[in-house]
């Protein structure tokens, strides 16, 4: 049951082979047994989850079920869910009970899905290892001394360890794709503007985008069908017709042109990752694809550009945490400014403060043109590289991360080294393109490797087709960590 796809679970529920309450209880029991060691969840609430499951069972009995009705989904703790503690991985929101639902949560509620709990994450989604969480690091289920990646590390761990049927994540610079790669699961960040950001705690608003994480591409398609849709409450939500992301899954790949950017296979890429990715490309050739060499000449600038834009937007977004309306307030202070300064100094962790400082600096008087504006201009150059590339190919492929999962604590003291672990994913966010990661083998110490697939704007259905056909031909995605 715990290895079943969403489609299989849905059929079991519809056929009364299992009830949603029973299925939810299986996962709650697994969480109780495994979460103390893995730390994938920050908050669970069995009573609320089981109440949702009972409601789903009523829908199923009444013949009113949709694709995800009764299925237990883990929600990243960045999404406000009414009545649920919503921490964003921060002491600042340790006791914050969300007074409303994020659009994504509303969508799952409307679909009759069960909220299984809130998953651990880097504080305010700032991190690539899940080590910046106030609630402690998440362990990689493939090797508990390794990081799961971040910032959606709890979600990736929960999916890989079979602690949920599927999960939600968010991706500002790689936070869905990199942990998906490091934990051996599938994840997709759709085109910017496809999933509403309403109620999703903001990090860098021009880059933040939510998406699903699951054990198969077919599952991702079903999740995306629920998560996407226009929402007036997000000013950057795109007004488009609803689409069925599973519609093209079965298409053969004959004639598919895969672009391989030379910059993604250059210095800095580990041998084991390179080998697994090259083997995946060879498999695609067997499936009828052809390969085109392409170049993304400005992609080398994506890390510096990102570390101007994302902290600038973060410093502005996080100014709302002032100890007045919600969240943490320092216990002692002398005046209003002292209250702000102590509240923020005590409520935020080191990485969050570091990024607020970078952002404040680049936005301060006299520096705006040299940093923020210059970064936005290079951002356009990076996006134009992709536009040029897509004239020669249908999808772009490469590694998701330069290495497999690194050890806990390995990059803790050096922020720059940590930032470089997102070198292949960041350009996609800057361009606003859809990107995904699927498992494509194992590297050193038998740790999972992810294949990144980048598509043109709104090409999610095509990318899912490309990824699904690979999963029909290989079984990397169905491997499970030992002791799970």
């Amino acid at each position: 049951m715990i290895n079943a796809t969403l489609k299989q679970l849905s059929a079991q529920l519809a056929g009364k082979k299992i009830s949603s309450v029973e299925l939810t209880q299986i996962y709650l029991d697994r969480i109780a047994a495994l979460n103390p060691a893995l730390n994938a969840y920050i908050t669970t609430n069995a009573e609320t989850s089981l109440a949702q499951a009972r409601a789903a069972d009523a829908l199923l009995a009444g013949g009113k079920a949709q694709a995800l009705t009764g299925i237990p989904i883990a929600q990243k703790d960045i999404f406000c869910a009414k009545g649920w503690r919503t921490t964003c991985g921060s002491k600042m929101l340790e006791n914050f009970i969300a007074p409303y639902d994020a659009h994504v949560i509303e969508q799952f509620n409307k679909a009759g899905a069960v909220n299984l709990g809130k998953t651990n994450m880097d504080e305010f989604a700032m991190g690539s290892s899940n080590e910046t969480s106030y609630f402690g690091p998440v362990r990689n289920p493939w090797d508990r001394n390794s990081v799961p990646g971040g910032s959606s590390g709890g979600a990736a761990c929960a999916v890989a360890a079979r602690l949920c049927a599927a999960a939600t994540g968010t991706d500002t610079g790689g936070s869905i794709r990199q942990p998906a790669a490091l934990c051996g699961i599938s994840g997709i960040k759709p085109t910017y503007g496809t999933v509403s950001r309403y109620g999703m705690i903001a990090f860098a608003s021009s880059l933040d985008q939510a998406g699903p994480m699951a054990r198969s591409v077919e599952d991702l398609a079903l999740m995306l069908n629920v998560m996407t849709g226009f929402d007036t409450r997000d000013s950057t939500s795109l007004q488009r017709d609803k689409e069925d992301y599973a519609r093209d899954l079965a298409k053969p790949l004959n004639g598919l042109r895969i672009g391989l950017p030379k910059e993604f296979f250059a210095e800095g890429l580990s041998n084991d990752v390179a080998q697994a990715v090259e083997a995946a490309i060879a498999e695609y050739k067997k499936l009828g694809a052809t390969v085109v060499d392409i170049s993304l000449p400005n992609s080398r600038l994506s890390v510096p550009v990102y570390y101007v834009l994302a902290p600038a937007e973060a410093s502005s977004n996080l100014s709302r945490f002032d100890g007045v309306r919600y969240g943490y307030r320092a216990p002692e202070y002398s005046d209003l400014t002292d209250m702000y300064e102590k509240t923020r100094a005590q409520g935020f962790g080191a990485e969050v403060k570091r990024r607020i400082m970078i952002g404040t600096y680049v936005l301060s008087h006299g520096y705006y043109d040299a940093y923020y504006l210059q970064a936005q201009k290079i951002r356009r150059l990076i996006a134009q590289d992709f536009t040029e590339a897509f004239k020669q190919c249908d999808v772009i492929m490469g590694p998701t991360s330069p290495s497999t999962a690194f050890n806990l604590g390995e990059k803790g003291d050096d922020p720059v080294q940590m930032y470089l672990s997102d070198i292949y994913t960041i350009a996609v966010n800057l361009a606003g393109l859809p990107g995904m990661s699927i498992p494509c083998g194992f590297g050193k110490n038998n740790m999972p490797v992810g294949l990144q697939i980048i598509g043109n704007y709104f090409a999610e259905a095509e990318m899912l087709n490309v990824a699904h056909q690979y999963q029909l031909a290989t079984d990397w995605h169905s491997r499970a960590p030992q002791e799970i």
Binding site: F96, G193, T232, S235, R300, Y326, E341, A345, M357
Partner: protein, 95 residues
């Protein structure tokens, strides 16, 4: 690029973050490293390139100027650090 302790102090003040002398020293070293990474950007010729803020270059949607949210003051204030008689309390700012 190397920042001075005074730069760090100024930024911390602007960002409303209390910092000890040790924290300022650590932050100075780490931020200098990050700005070295960012410096690579400065050499790029961007003359005539328009800044990009949204991938789709969409314009801001407008809506009718009507209230869309119901009043939920009590609910929202139930999670505030300090309220009294429907007001958020902060330390006195006017003598």
């Amino acid at each position: 690029m190397s920042l001075t302790d005074a730069d760090v102090r100024k930024v911390a003040r602007l960002a409303r973050l209390a910092m000890s002398e040790t924290e300022i020293e650590t932050a100075r070293a780490q931020l200098s490293g990050i700005f070295d990474l960012i410096a690579e950007m400065q050499a790029v010729d961007t003359k005539g390139i328009a800044p990009m803020s949204h991938a789709q270059d969409v314009s801001q949607r407008l809506r009718e100027d009507v209230a869309t949210e119901a009043n939920q003051r009590e609910l929202f204030q139930s999670i505030a650090p300090q309220v009294e008689a429907g007001l958020y309390l902060v330390p006195q700012v006017i003598e």
